[in-house]
Symmetry: C2
C-alpha cells in the first residue's frame, strides 16, 4: 500500500476536471481510497508527502508507434512522401523482434517521463513489443495493423493471444488504413469483428490525399466506406481524423466512435489541423495521441495538449475555442474509454492505480489560478514528479526505479547504429 | 574559472548549428576557451563532467512582459478583447514597483529553467524590474513602451539611466504600438532616435485588425508608417509581425530589422501564424520570443521553437518548410544580435559566458541522430541541465543556487492574492 497525501486530487470521475485537496491510497494494483485528508492507519509501505502537487489519472497515449524511436530526428524537415519511401520504409523492413524490443523500451521510458500510463500502439513484432511493456510494468493496448497481403487469421489469433496474455496488455482489431488494405481484407475483418462483437480501429483521414484516393476507389470517404462494411457496428474509432467530413463526424457520433487527435504529428508533416471543435459540437468523443516518434518527434502529452488547444484557436479564429479542461479530460479519461481501459479512466476506489503526479511547485506553474489550465497551457515534462501504473511507481523525481535507463539508451543506440549505419 | 568538459559544443560562431566534441572554460563573466578536449591546467573552482551533454549559447527571449506572471491562467480561453479590457487592464492599473519586482523574479526563475539567458522586456515600473534582474544575476534589455500621454523625455531619461546602470541591463527606444501611440509621440520619438542614433522597437502587426486600423488612420501599414517617420533609420525591429505585407518585409530586409516571432502567444490568442518562411526568403532577420505569461502561458523556448517550425509547415503546407536549425539559430544568435547583445551571440573566447547545457541523456533525446533537430523537435525543459549567465551558474539540475525559489513563489502568490482577490 502506498499513500500519496497533502495533494490536490483531480479524479475525473464525473465528466469534468474539478479538483479537491486530499489524498490517494493504493492497495496492490488498485486504488483503495480517493478523498479528502484522512488519518492514516499505518501499514503503508510508503507515505509520500506531495507538498500540494496535483494527482491526475495518467495520460493515455491513444495513438502511437512506440518502436519508431530509432527514427527520431533521422529525417526531419523532408516532404512527406520522400520521408516515407526513402527513409522510413527501407529501415522498417529490417526490423526484427530484438530491435522492436529495444526501441519499445526506450519509448516506455519517455512515456513515463511525461506522465503517460498507457499506450494504444500499432506496429510490427507484437510479441516482442508486449514483452517489453510487461517487463517494464507498463500498460498497452495493441491495435492490429493489417495491410493487403496479411491474413485475417493473424488478427483472430492475435485477438485471442494478446487479450489473455497479461493484465497489462490488450488487443483491438485494426487495419493500417483504407489506402493499404486492398479490397478483400476489410470485408474479412468486418466478419471477424462481427463474430467477436469487437470494436474496430484504423488510421483514418490523416491526409487530404488519403481521403481523395478513397473517394476515387470507393465513391465515399474512409469513414463512410468502413461504415458501409459494418466495421463500426461494435464501436472503435480512428486515428488522426484531420479531414473528416460533416457526414463522417455524424457517423462517429452516432456509433459512439472516438477520434484520436495527433496534433503534433499532423502539424510536423503538414497534414493539417483536425476539426476538433466541430467534432465536439457534433458530439464526437475525443482522445489524444502522440503518433510515433518518427513524425512527432517527442512522446510528450504536454506538447499535444497545448498544441491541440491553440491549433483549434487558430483554426476557429477564436481565442475562446477549445477550452483546456476539455482536452485534458480527453487525454486522460477519453483515451482510457477509447482503449477499453474502463478501470483506468478516473481516480476512484477499486479502479486501477494508474496516475501521474504533477509538480505545481515550479516556476511555470505559479501562481496557481486554475490547475487544469496551468497544466495545459504552462505544463511541461519538468512538472512530472511521479508516474504510477497498476500501483507501481515507475518514474519518480526524474529516475526510473524499475528500469536501467542507461542500458536501455545504450541498447537503443547500438541497434539504431546497426540498422542505419551498417545497413544490417 | 569553471570548466565544462566531456560535452558536445554548438558554438554558432559561423552562422550555423554545427557541433563538435569538446569543452568550454569560463574566466569571470567571459569565455576563456571553446574548443576540442584539452588538458586542464588546474585552477578551476569547478570542473563539471557533462557526460556528453550539449552546450549552446543561451536562448534569448526576444520579446516578453516578464512581470505578467501574476496573470498566468487567470483568464484563459476568452476572446481577445474581453480578455484585455475585462481582465488584464484593470489589474495592471493596480501594479506597483514592489509587485513588479516580485512577479519579475518568478519569471526569471522560469527563464532559467528553460535555458534562457537574456530577455527583451517591455513593461511598467522599470527600475523595480531592473533591480529584480540584477539581484538574480540575469541579463535583460528593457524596451521602452511609450503610449499616448507619455512624454518622450521619459524615453530619453530611461535611455541614459538604464544603459549605464549595470552590465546586465540595457535599454532600447520603443513605442507600445502604433494603435496606442497617438499622433505626435511617434514623431517626437523619431527625433530622439535620430539624436541618439538609436534603433527602434515596437509591437508591430500582431493582429489583422491592428493593421487595418493603421491603414485607416494613416493610409499605410504600421511598418510603412514607422518607416515614413524615419523611426527605422538606425535599425531595430518589431514584435510579433504576424500580418506583415510583402512591402513591409522588404522594408525589414532593407533596414536590417529583426522580426521577433511569438508563435505560442499568436496561436493562443488566435492572432495568426507569422509568415516566417516568406520573411526568410526575403532576407528578414528573425528572433524568437515567448511574449508575456498572460498570453502564452509558459516562458519556455522549447515550446516556441517547436511551434515556430511546425506552424510554418502547416502554413506552407510543406513538411520541409522551416528547418529546425534555422529557428534554433534565430533563438540564440538571432535574438542576441537583435537585442544588441553582440557579446552573447555565440560561444567563442572573449565572449560573455551566457550558455545552456542540454542533457541528451534522457529518453526524449535518444537516439542522437542530429542534436539540433533533437533539441527543437524533441527537447523540453526536462533537458535543461544548467543555465549560466555572465559566468555564473544560475540553474543546475532543477535547482536555483542563487535564488530562494520557495520564497519567490510565496511572494508572487501573496502579491497575486492581494491584487486579485482583495482588489488592493
Amino acid at each position: 500500500m502506498i499513500r500519496l497525501y497533502n495533494a490536490l486530487v483531480m479524479p475525473m470521475d464525473d465528466g469534468n476536471c474539478r479538483h479537491f485537496a486530499g489524498e490517494v491510497w493504493t492497495d496492490g494494483s488498485r486504488l483503495a481510497y480517493v478523498g479528502p485528508e484522512r488519518a492514516a492507519q499505518g501499514g503503508f509501505e510508503r507515505e509520500i508527502d506531495l507538498g500540494g502537487s496535483l494527482i491526475i489519472p495518467g495520460f493515455k497515449n491513444a495513438h502511437t508507434h512506440s518502436a519508431m524511436t530509432f527514427l527520431r530526428s533521422y529525417a526531419d524537415d523532408l516532404p512527406l512522401q520522400s520521408w516515407l519511401s526513402e527513409k522510413v520504409f527501407p529501415l522498417e523492413a529490417r526490423l526484427n523482434p530484438e530491435r522492436v524490443y529495444a526501441f519499445t523500451r526506450l519509448a516506455v521510458l519517455e512515456y513515463l517521463s511525461s506522465g503517460i500510463t498507457a499506450s494504444f500502439d500499432m506496429y510490427f513484432h507484437r510479441e516482442a513489443y508486449a514483452r517489453a511493456n510487461i517487463e517494464m510494468g507498463f500498460r498497452s493496448v495493441i491495435c492490429g495493423a493489417l495491410s493487403e497481403g496479411d491474413s485475417v487469421n493473424t488478427a483472430a489469433d492475435d485477438y485471442e493471444k494478446f487479450n489473455s496474455l497479461h493484465p497489462l496488455i490488450g488487443y483491438r482489431l485494426g487495419l493500417h488504413g483504407e489506402y493499404t488494405a486492398g479490397s478483400s481484407l476489410p470485408r474479412e475483418l468486418s466478419e471477424l469483428a462481427h463474430s467477436l462483437r469487437a470494436p474496430f480501429w484504423t488510421h483514418n483521414s490523416e491526409t487530404e490525399s488519403e481521403v481523395a484516393g478513397c473517394i476515387e476507389r470507393h465513391g465515399m470517404t474512409p469513414t463512410e466506406y468502413f461504415e458501409s462494411l459494418g466495421l463500426f457496428d461494435y464501436g472503435g474509432g480512428g486515428y488522426h481524423c484531420v479531414w473528416l467530413s460533416g457526414r463522417d463526424m455524424d457517423i462517429f457520433a452516432r456509433r459512439g466512435l472516438t477520434a484520436v487527435t495527433c496534433p503534433a504529428s499532423n502539424a510536423k508533416l503538414a497534414s493539417g489541423i483536425a476539426p476538433l471543435c466541430e467534432m465536439s459540437r457534433r458530439g464526437v468523443r475525443l482522445a489524444v495521441g502522440t503518433d510515433g516518434p518518427a513524425s512527432n518527434n517527442a512522446l510528450d502529452m504536454f506538447r499535444e495538449l497545448y498544441l491541440a488547444c491553440v491549433l483549434q484557436k487558430l483554426r476557429e479564429r477564436d481565442a475562446a475555442a477549445c477550452p483546456a479542461e476539455d482536452m485534458l479530460y480527453a487525454a486522460c479519461s477519453g483515451g482510457a474509454r477509447a482503449m477499453g481501459l474502463d478501470e483506468c479512466d478516473c481516480l476512484a476506489e477499486g479502479k486501477q492505480a494508474d496516475l501521474a503526479v504533477i509538480d505545481l511547485n515550479r516556476p511555470n506553474m505559479r501562481p496557481i489560478h486554475a490547475p487544469a489550465r496551468n497544466l495545459v497551457y504552462s505544463g511541461s515534462k519538468e512538472n512530472v514528479r511521479l508516474t504510477m501504473v497498476a500501483g507501481r511507481i515507475l518514474y519518480e523525481n526524474g529516475a526510473f526505479p524499475n528500469a536501467d535507463a542507461e542500458r536501455i539508451y545504450a541498447e537503443a543506440e547500438r541497434h539504431t547504429k546497426e540498422l542505419i549505419e551498417n545497413g544490417a
